[in-house]
Protein backbone atom coordinates (compact mmCIF):
# COMPACT_ATOMS: atom_id res chain seq x y z
CA UNK A 1 0.00 0.00 0.00
CA UNK A 2 1.24 3.45 -0.84
CA UNK A 3 2.53 5.30 2.23
CA UNK A 4 0.83 8.64 2.95
CA UNK A 5 2.37 9.68 6.19
CA UNK A 6 5.44 8.83 8.28
CA UNK A 7 5.82 9.35 12.01
CA UNK A 8 9.42 9.40 13.10
CA UNK A 9 11.01 9.43 16.54
CA UNK A 10 14.62 9.27 17.67
CA UNK A 11 15.37 8.96 21.39
CA UNK A 12 18.42 8.29 23.56
CA UNK A 13 21.92 9.04 22.37
CA UNK A 14 24.59 10.79 24.41
CA UNK A 15 22.47 13.94 24.58
CA UNK A 16 19.26 12.08 25.45
CA UNK A 17 17.31 14.58 23.38
CA UNK A 18 14.14 13.39 21.64
CA UNK A 19 13.72 14.29 18.00
CA UNK A 20 10.36 13.61 16.38
CA UNK A 21 8.43 14.48 13.25
CA UNK A 22 5.03 13.86 11.72
CA UNK A 23 5.57 13.93 7.98
CA UNK A 24 2.88 14.20 5.29
CA UNK A 25 4.56 12.80 2.21
CA UNK A 26 2.63 15.00 -0.23
CA UNK A 27 4.17 18.05 1.43
CA UNK A 28 7.71 16.91 0.56
CA UNK A 29 9.57 17.49 -2.72
CA UNK A 30 8.72 14.81 -5.29
CA UNK A 31 12.30 13.54 -5.54
CA UNK A 32 12.50 13.04 -1.79
CA UNK A 33 9.16 11.19 -1.70
CA UNK A 34 10.42 8.94 -4.48
CA UNK A 35 13.60 8.24 -2.49
CA UNK A 36 11.64 7.42 0.68
CA UNK A 37 9.17 5.13 -1.11
CA UNK A 38 12.01 3.30 -2.82
CA UNK A 39 13.77 2.74 0.51
CA UNK A 40 10.55 1.48 2.13
CA UNK A 41 10.10 -0.89 -0.77
CA UNK A 42 13.72 -2.10 -0.70
CA UNK A 43 13.44 -2.66 3.04
CA UNK A 44 10.16 -4.53 2.62
CA UNK A 45 9.10 -2.32 5.49
CA UNK A 46 5.59 -3.75 5.88
CA UNK A 47 7.06 -7.18 6.58
CA UNK A 48 9.63 -6.06 9.17
CA UNK A 49 8.94 -7.09 12.78
CA UNK A 50 7.78 -4.35 15.15
CA UNK A 51 10.95 -4.66 17.18
CA UNK A 52 14.28 -5.32 15.49
CA UNK A 53 16.92 -7.00 17.57
CA UNK A 54 20.55 -8.03 17.19
CA UNK A 55 23.80 -6.13 16.79
CA UNK A 56 26.04 -5.20 19.68
CA UNK A 57 24.47 -3.69 22.79
CA UNK A 58 25.76 -0.15 22.86
CA UNK A 59 25.77 2.63 25.45
CA UNK A 60 24.53 6.04 24.31
CA UNK A 61 23.11 4.63 21.07
CA UNK A 62 20.00 6.05 19.45
CA UNK A 63 16.65 4.25 19.42
CA UNK A 64 14.55 4.88 16.31
CA UNK A 65 10.88 4.37 15.74
CA UNK A 66 9.29 4.70 12.30
CA UNK A 67 5.55 4.43 11.69
CA UNK A 68 4.37 4.26 8.10
CA UNK A 69 0.69 5.08 7.58
CA UNK A 70 -1.10 4.15 4.36
CA UNK A 71 -4.83 4.29 3.58
CA UNK A 72 -5.43 0.78 4.80
CA UNK A 73 -2.86 0.12 7.51
CA UNK A 74 -0.18 1.47 9.72
CA UNK A 75 3.00 -0.29 10.75
CA UNK A 76 5.61 0.69 13.35
CA UNK A 77 9.17 -0.57 13.52
CA UNK A 78 11.37 0.24 16.53
CA UNK A 79 15.07 -0.48 16.54
CA UNK A 80 18.42 0.44 18.01
CA UNK A 81 20.81 1.82 15.44
CA UNK A 82 22.99 -1.28 15.56
CA UNK A 83 20.10 -3.69 15.02
CA UNK A 84 18.88 -1.86 11.91
CA UNK A 85 19.74 -3.11 8.41
CA UNK A 86 22.18 -0.97 6.42
CA UNK A 87 19.47 0.51 4.19
CA UNK A 88 17.58 1.72 7.21
CA UNK A 89 20.49 4.02 8.09
CA UNK A 90 19.81 6.00 4.91
CA UNK A 91 16.17 6.23 5.96
CA UNK A 92 17.19 7.50 9.42
CA UNK A 93 19.45 10.09 7.80
CA UNK A 94 16.65 11.45 5.58
CA UNK A 95 14.01 11.46 8.35
CA UNK A 96 16.41 13.04 10.86
CA UNK A 97 17.05 15.85 8.40
CA UNK A 98 13.31 16.42 7.87
CA UNK A 99 12.65 16.33 11.62
CA UNK A 100 15.36 18.93 12.27
CA UNK A 101 13.89 21.13 9.55
CA UNK A 102 10.42 20.82 11.08
CA UNK A 103 11.78 21.73 14.51
CA UNK A 104 13.50 24.80 13.05
CA UNK A 105 10.33 25.91 11.26
CA UNK A 106 8.43 25.77 14.54
CA UNK A 107 10.87 28.24 16.08
Amino acid sequence: MEAKRIKFERTGGFAGIRLAADIELDELPKAQVHQILKLLNDLDFDELPEQLSGGPQISDGFTYSITVVSETRQHTVTTSETAAPEKMSSMFEILTQIARQQARNKK
Binding site: G12, G13, F14, A15, G16, S59, D60, R100, K106
Partner: protein, 376 residues
Protein backbone atom coordinates in the same frame (compact mmCIF):
# COMPACT_ATOMS: atom_id res chain seq x y z
CA UNK B 1 14.72 -0.91 22.83
CA UNK B 2 14.83 -4.58 23.60
CA UNK B 3 17.43 -5.37 26.20
CA UNK B 4 19.67 -8.37 25.63
CA UNK B 5 20.84 -9.61 28.94
CA UNK B 6 24.32 -11.08 29.02
CA UNK B 7 24.12 -13.83 31.65
CA UNK B 8 27.83 -13.42 32.34
CA UNK B 9 27.02 -10.11 33.95
CA UNK B 10 24.55 -11.58 36.42
CA UNK B 11 25.60 -12.50 39.91
CA UNK B 12 25.92 -16.13 40.94
CA UNK B 13 26.47 -17.45 44.45
CA UNK B 14 30.07 -18.68 45.02
CA UNK B 15 29.15 -22.37 45.32
CA UNK B 16 27.43 -22.26 41.95
CA UNK B 17 30.41 -20.47 40.39
CA UNK B 18 32.81 -23.12 41.66
CA UNK B 19 30.55 -25.80 40.24
CA UNK B 20 30.56 -24.11 36.85
CA UNK B 21 34.34 -23.55 36.99
CA UNK B 22 34.81 -27.28 37.55
CA UNK B 23 32.20 -28.76 35.24
CA UNK B 24 31.09 -26.15 32.72
CA UNK B 25 31.96 -25.71 29.06
CA UNK B 26 35.09 -23.68 28.23
CA UNK B 27 33.06 -20.45 27.97
CA UNK B 28 31.20 -21.16 31.18
CA UNK B 29 34.45 -21.98 32.99
CA UNK B 30 36.05 -18.74 31.86
CA UNK B 31 32.98 -16.78 32.94
CA UNK B 32 32.99 -18.43 36.34
CA UNK B 33 36.72 -17.92 36.88
CA UNK B 34 36.44 -14.27 35.88
CA UNK B 35 33.52 -13.77 38.22
CA UNK B 36 35.29 -15.48 41.12
CA UNK B 37 38.39 -13.34 40.53
CA UNK B 38 36.42 -10.12 40.42
CA UNK B 39 34.50 -10.87 43.59
CA UNK B 40 37.54 -11.94 45.59
CA UNK B 41 39.40 -8.73 44.94
CA UNK B 42 41.20 -7.09 47.80
CA UNK B 43 38.83 -5.65 50.36
CA UNK B 44 39.60 -2.24 51.75
CA UNK B 45 37.70 -2.54 54.96
CA UNK B 46 38.97 -0.31 57.71
CA UNK B 47 42.11 0.66 55.87
CA UNK B 48 43.01 4.31 55.82
CA UNK B 49 43.15 5.82 52.39
CA UNK B 50 46.95 5.83 51.94
CA UNK B 51 47.27 2.22 53.05
CA UNK B 52 44.38 1.39 50.85
CA UNK B 53 46.01 2.90 47.78
CA UNK B 54 49.34 1.17 48.41
CA UNK B 55 47.64 -2.19 48.87
CA UNK B 56 45.56 -1.73 45.77
CA UNK B 57 48.63 -0.75 43.73
CA UNK B 58 50.47 -3.88 44.86
CA UNK B 59 47.48 -6.00 43.98
CA UNK B 60 47.24 -4.89 40.39
CA UNK B 61 50.93 -4.91 39.49
CA UNK B 62 50.70 -8.64 38.87
CA UNK B 63 47.95 -8.26 36.32
CA UNK B 64 49.51 -5.49 34.26
CA UNK B 65 50.14 -6.70 30.73
CA UNK B 66 50.65 -3.35 29.06
CA UNK B 67 50.46 0.39 29.60
CA UNK B 68 48.65 3.16 27.82
CA UNK B 69 47.98 2.14 24.23
CA UNK B 70 45.71 4.08 21.93
CA UNK B 71 44.63 3.88 18.31
CA UNK B 72 42.43 6.46 16.60
CA UNK B 73 40.61 5.42 13.42
CA UNK B 74 38.70 7.36 10.78
CA UNK B 75 35.31 5.99 9.62
CA UNK B 76 35.44 8.47 6.69
CA UNK B 77 31.75 9.28 7.22
CA UNK B 78 30.73 5.65 6.86
CA UNK B 79 29.30 3.16 9.36
CA UNK B 80 32.00 0.49 9.24
CA UNK B 81 33.97 0.13 12.45
CA UNK B 82 36.70 0.60 13.38
CA UNK B 83 37.75 2.24 10.06
CA UNK B 84 41.23 3.31 8.87
CA UNK B 85 44.08 3.67 11.36
CA UNK B 86 45.18 7.30 11.55
CA UNK B 87 47.23 7.69 14.74
CA UNK B 88 48.79 5.10 17.02
CA UNK B 89 50.30 5.38 20.49
CA UNK B 90 53.39 7.58 20.55
CA UNK B 91 52.86 9.04 17.08
CA UNK B 92 52.88 12.83 16.68
CA UNK B 93 49.70 14.89 16.18
CA UNK B 94 48.11 14.82 12.73
CA UNK B 95 46.28 17.54 10.78
CA UNK B 96 42.83 16.24 11.78
CA UNK B 97 41.75 17.93 15.03
CA UNK B 98 39.12 15.27 15.87
CA UNK B 99 41.78 12.55 15.68
CA UNK B 100 44.05 14.46 18.06
CA UNK B 101 41.18 15.19 20.46
CA UNK B 102 40.19 11.52 20.58
CA UNK B 103 43.84 10.59 21.16
CA UNK B 104 44.33 13.17 23.93
CA UNK B 105 40.92 12.60 25.53
CA UNK B 106 41.35 8.85 25.80
CA UNK B 107 44.88 9.48 27.13
CA UNK B 108 43.60 11.88 29.79
CA UNK B 109 40.98 9.33 30.82
CA UNK B 110 43.61 6.58 31.02
CA UNK B 111 45.76 8.88 33.18
CA UNK B 112 42.99 9.63 35.70
CA UNK B 113 42.19 5.94 36.14
CA UNK B 114 45.86 4.94 36.33
CA UNK B 115 47.30 7.77 38.42
CA UNK B 116 44.44 8.18 40.87
CA UNK B 117 42.68 4.81 41.02
CA UNK B 118 45.58 2.53 39.98
CA UNK B 119 43.43 1.09 37.24
CA UNK B 120 45.25 -0.05 34.11
CA UNK B 121 42.75 0.86 31.38
CA UNK B 122 39.14 -0.20 30.85
CA UNK B 123 39.64 -3.82 31.92
CA UNK B 124 42.42 -3.09 34.47
CA UNK B 125 44.61 -5.21 32.24
CA UNK B 126 45.92 -2.72 29.73
CA UNK B 127 43.15 -3.04 27.13
CA UNK B 128 43.96 -0.93 24.08
CA UNK B 129 41.82 2.19 23.77
CA UNK B 130 40.29 2.31 20.31
CA UNK B 131 38.44 5.39 19.09
CA UNK B 132 36.79 6.07 15.75
CA UNK B 133 36.03 9.60 14.57
CA UNK B 134 33.98 10.89 11.59
CA UNK B 135 31.32 8.22 12.05
CA UNK B 136 28.52 8.62 9.47
CA UNK B 137 27.47 12.08 8.23
CA UNK B 138 26.16 14.88 10.43
CA UNK B 139 25.99 12.31 13.21
CA UNK B 140 24.90 13.99 16.47
CA UNK B 141 26.20 11.38 18.84
CA UNK B 142 29.00 9.47 20.51
CA UNK B 143 28.73 5.94 21.85
CA UNK B 144 30.54 2.95 23.32
CA UNK B 145 29.78 -0.24 21.36
CA UNK B 146 31.14 -2.70 23.90
CA UNK B 147 34.62 -2.64 22.35
CA UNK B 148 35.45 0.89 21.32
CA UNK B 149 34.49 4.57 21.41
CA UNK B 150 32.76 6.13 18.40
CA UNK B 151 32.33 9.85 17.66
CA UNK B 152 30.22 11.76 15.17
CA UNK B 153 31.05 15.13 13.64
CA UNK B 154 27.72 16.69 14.65
CA UNK B 155 25.47 18.41 12.14
CA UNK B 156 27.27 21.73 12.64
CA UNK B 157 23.96 23.49 13.12
CA UNK B 158 22.90 22.12 16.53
CA UNK B 159 25.95 20.09 17.55
CA UNK B 160 29.68 20.45 17.01
CA UNK B 161 31.98 17.44 16.78
CA UNK B 162 31.64 15.17 19.83
CA UNK B 163 35.38 15.06 20.55
CA UNK B 164 35.30 18.78 21.37
CA UNK B 165 34.57 18.08 25.07
CA UNK B 166 37.09 16.00 27.02
CA UNK B 167 34.38 14.80 29.43
CA UNK B 168 32.50 13.16 26.53
CA UNK B 169 35.52 10.93 25.97
CA UNK B 170 35.82 10.21 29.69
CA UNK B 171 32.10 9.39 29.66
CA UNK B 172 32.36 6.88 26.80
CA UNK B 173 35.46 5.17 28.18
CA UNK B 174 33.79 4.86 31.58
CA UNK B 175 30.99 2.88 29.92
CA UNK B 176 33.74 0.38 29.23
CA UNK B 177 34.89 0.40 32.86
CA UNK B 178 31.30 -0.12 34.03
CA UNK B 179 30.93 -2.98 31.55
CA UNK B 180 33.94 -4.74 33.11
CA UNK B 181 32.90 -4.00 36.70
CA UNK B 182 29.33 -3.46 37.99
CA UNK B 183 27.92 -4.14 34.52
CA UNK B 184 24.87 -2.05 35.34
CA UNK B 185 21.88 -2.93 33.15
CA UNK B 186 21.25 -0.22 30.59
CA UNK B 187 17.67 0.55 31.54
CA UNK B 188 15.62 2.23 34.28
CA UNK B 189 17.52 3.10 37.49
CA UNK B 190 20.51 0.77 36.91
CA UNK B 191 20.80 2.37 33.47
CA UNK B 192 20.60 5.89 34.89
CA UNK B 193 23.33 4.90 37.38
CA UNK B 194 25.39 3.56 34.47
CA UNK B 195 24.95 6.94 32.75
CA UNK B 196 25.71 8.84 35.95
CA UNK B 197 28.96 6.91 36.51
CA UNK B 198 30.01 7.95 33.00
CA UNK B 199 29.13 11.59 33.71
CA UNK B 200 30.89 11.54 37.10
CA UNK B 201 34.17 10.14 35.78
CA UNK B 202 33.83 12.16 32.56
CA UNK B 203 33.68 15.33 34.64
CA UNK B 204 36.55 14.10 36.82
CA UNK B 205 38.70 13.55 33.73
CA UNK B 206 38.09 17.19 32.81
CA UNK B 207 38.74 18.45 36.34
CA UNK B 208 41.91 16.35 36.66
CA UNK B 209 43.25 17.53 33.30
CA UNK B 210 42.66 21.17 34.35
CA UNK B 211 43.78 20.54 37.94
CA UNK B 212 40.58 22.10 39.26
CA UNK B 213 39.08 21.90 42.73
CA UNK B 214 35.46 20.81 43.17
CA UNK B 215 34.55 24.45 43.78
CA UNK B 216 36.29 25.73 40.64
CA UNK B 217 34.92 23.05 38.29
CA UNK B 218 31.99 23.85 35.97
CA UNK B 219 30.40 20.39 36.45
CA UNK B 220 29.05 20.55 32.91
CA UNK B 221 28.82 17.59 30.56
CA UNK B 222 29.46 18.47 26.93
CA UNK B 223 30.46 22.13 27.27
CA UNK B 224 31.28 23.42 23.79
CA UNK B 225 29.26 20.70 22.11
CA UNK B 226 26.24 22.88 21.30
CA UNK B 227 26.75 24.87 18.11
CA UNK B 228 26.79 28.67 18.02
CA UNK B 229 23.25 30.01 18.12
CA UNK B 230 21.86 27.22 20.30
CA UNK B 231 20.61 28.54 23.63
CA UNK B 232 22.56 26.46 26.14
CA UNK B 233 25.94 25.92 27.77
CA UNK B 234 26.19 22.13 27.64
CA UNK B 235 24.09 18.95 27.54
CA UNK B 236 23.90 18.35 31.27
CA UNK B 237 24.79 20.15 34.47
CA UNK B 238 25.70 18.12 37.54
CA UNK B 239 25.65 21.28 39.61
CA UNK B 240 22.18 22.33 38.45
CA UNK B 241 20.44 19.53 36.54
CA UNK B 242 17.72 20.84 34.22
CA UNK B 243 19.50 24.11 33.38
CA UNK B 244 22.05 23.13 30.71
CA UNK B 245 19.97 24.28 27.71
CA UNK B 246 16.61 25.75 26.82
CA UNK B 247 16.30 26.10 23.08
CA UNK B 248 13.41 26.36 20.60
CA UNK B 249 14.73 23.44 18.54
CA UNK B 250 16.33 21.23 21.20
CA UNK B 251 13.74 21.89 23.89
CA UNK B 252 14.62 22.22 27.55
CA UNK B 253 17.08 20.16 29.58
CA UNK B 254 14.76 17.56 31.20
CA UNK B 255 17.03 16.40 34.02
CA UNK B 256 15.68 16.23 37.57
CA UNK B 257 17.89 17.00 40.58
CA UNK B 258 15.68 15.31 43.18
CA UNK B 259 13.73 12.05 43.58
CA UNK B 260 10.45 13.97 43.80
CA UNK B 261 10.96 14.97 40.16
CA UNK B 262 11.96 11.49 38.93
CA UNK B 263 10.79 11.08 35.34
CA UNK B 264 8.86 7.90 34.54
CA UNK B 265 9.19 7.22 30.82
CA UNK B 266 9.69 4.34 28.42
CA UNK B 267 11.80 6.49 26.09
CA UNK B 268 15.59 6.43 26.31
CA UNK B 269 15.58 3.00 28.00
CA UNK B 270 13.49 4.39 30.81
CA UNK B 271 15.10 7.82 30.90
CA UNK B 272 18.69 6.74 31.51
CA UNK B 273 20.02 10.11 30.28
CA UNK B 274 17.32 11.99 32.22
CA UNK B 275 17.19 10.51 35.71
CA UNK B 276 20.99 10.32 35.85
CA UNK B 277 20.59 13.95 36.97
CA UNK B 278 19.70 12.72 40.47
CA UNK B 279 22.87 10.68 41.26
CA UNK B 280 24.90 13.25 39.29
CA UNK B 281 23.71 15.99 41.60
CA UNK B 282 24.31 13.87 44.70
CA UNK B 283 27.93 13.40 43.61
CA UNK B 284 28.34 17.13 43.00
CA UNK B 285 26.92 17.95 46.47
CA UNK B 286 29.14 15.37 48.16
CA UNK B 287 32.32 16.40 46.34
CA UNK B 288 31.83 20.11 47.00
CA UNK B 289 31.04 19.48 50.64
CA UNK B 290 34.24 17.46 51.01
CA UNK B 291 36.24 20.21 49.26
CA UNK B 292 39.58 19.90 47.49
CA UNK B 293 39.82 17.86 44.31
CA UNK B 294 36.67 15.88 43.58
CA UNK B 295 38.63 12.90 42.20
CA UNK B 296 40.39 12.45 45.51
CA UNK B 297 37.81 11.52 48.15
CA UNK B 298 34.38 11.53 46.47
CA UNK B 299 35.86 10.02 43.30
CA UNK B 300 37.60 7.28 45.31
CA UNK B 301 34.35 6.38 47.07
CA UNK B 302 32.49 6.24 43.75
CA UNK B 303 35.23 4.25 42.03
CA UNK B 304 35.46 1.58 44.73
CA UNK B 305 31.68 1.32 44.85
CA UNK B 306 31.53 0.85 41.06
CA UNK B 307 34.35 -1.69 41.12
CA UNK B 308 33.44 -3.76 44.15
CA UNK B 309 29.87 -3.21 45.23
CA UNK B 310 27.34 -2.22 42.60
CA UNK B 311 25.62 -5.03 40.71
CA UNK B 312 23.81 -5.21 37.39
CA UNK B 313 20.46 -4.49 39.00
CA UNK B 314 21.50 -1.87 41.58
CA UNK B 315 19.13 1.09 41.89
CA UNK B 316 19.63 4.60 43.29
CA UNK B 317 18.88 3.51 46.87
CA UNK B 318 21.47 0.72 46.58
CA UNK B 319 24.03 3.20 45.29
CA UNK B 320 23.30 5.55 48.21
CA UNK B 321 23.69 2.70 50.71
CA UNK B 322 26.80 1.28 49.08
CA UNK B 323 28.65 4.60 48.72
CA UNK B 324 27.80 5.23 52.38
CA UNK B 325 29.35 1.86 53.27
CA UNK B 326 32.40 2.51 51.07
CA UNK B 327 32.92 5.88 52.76
CA UNK B 328 33.09 4.04 56.10
CA UNK B 329 35.47 1.42 54.63
CA UNK B 330 37.92 4.05 53.44
CA UNK B 331 37.50 6.94 55.88
CA UNK B 332 35.91 5.34 58.91
CA UNK B 333 32.36 5.03 60.25
CA UNK B 334 31.02 8.41 61.28
CA UNK B 335 33.86 10.25 59.50
CA UNK B 336 33.21 13.67 57.97
CA UNK B 337 33.42 12.00 54.56
CA UNK B 338 30.72 9.48 55.45
CA UNK B 339 28.54 12.28 56.79
CA UNK B 340 29.00 14.21 53.55
CA UNK B 341 27.89 11.16 51.56
CA UNK B 342 24.77 10.81 53.69
CA UNK B 343 23.92 14.51 53.41
CA UNK B 344 24.45 14.59 49.63
CA UNK B 345 22.05 11.71 49.05
CA UNK B 346 19.55 13.15 51.55
CA UNK B 347 19.55 16.41 49.58
CA UNK B 348 18.38 14.55 46.47
CA UNK B 349 15.74 12.63 48.44
CA UNK B 350 17.51 9.36 49.34
CA UNK B 351 18.33 8.17 52.87
CA UNK B 352 21.62 6.32 52.80
CA UNK B 353 22.01 3.65 55.45
CA UNK B 354 24.69 1.18 56.37
CA UNK B 355 22.29 -1.72 55.93
CA UNK B 356 20.64 -2.96 52.79
CA UNK B 357 22.63 -2.86 49.64
CA UNK B 358 21.66 -4.55 46.48
CA UNK B 359 18.11 -5.60 45.77
CA UNK B 360 17.76 -9.19 44.54
CA UNK B 361 17.99 -9.72 40.77
CA UNK B 362 14.70 -10.05 38.90
CA UNK B 363 13.51 -13.49 37.72
CA UNK B 364 14.65 -12.69 34.18
CA UNK B 365 18.26 -12.58 35.30
CA UNK B 366 18.04 -15.76 37.32
CA UNK B 367 16.25 -17.51 34.50
CA UNK B 368 18.99 -16.66 32.04
CA UNK B 369 21.57 -17.97 34.51
CA UNK B 370 19.77 -21.25 34.86
CA UNK B 371 19.73 -21.49 31.12
CA UNK B 372 23.45 -20.79 30.93
CA UNK B 373 24.34 -23.59 33.30
CA UNK B 374 21.88 -25.93 31.65
CA UNK B 375 19.52 -26.19 34.58
CA UNK B 376 16.54 -24.89 32.64
Amino acid sequence: MHHHRNPIHCILPPHMLKQIAANGSETQKQMAVDTINSTTQLRADRLKMTEYRAAFAAQIIQSVSGGKERIVYDAQNGSSLPGTVIRKEGEPPVADVAVNEAYDGSGATYDLYKNIYNRNSIDNNGLRLDSTVHYQRNYDNAFWDGKQMVYGDGDGDLFNRFTIAIDVMGHELTHGVTQYEASLNYSQQPGALNESMSDVFGSLVKQYSLNQTATDADWLIGAGLLAAGVNGVALRSMKAPGTAYNDPVLGKDPQPAHMKDYVNTISDNGGVHINSGIPNHAFYLIATQMGGNAWDKAGQIWYVTLRDKLKATSNFQDCANLTYQTAADIFGAGSLEQQAVQKGWADVGLDATGSGGNTPPPPGCFGSLLKLIGAA
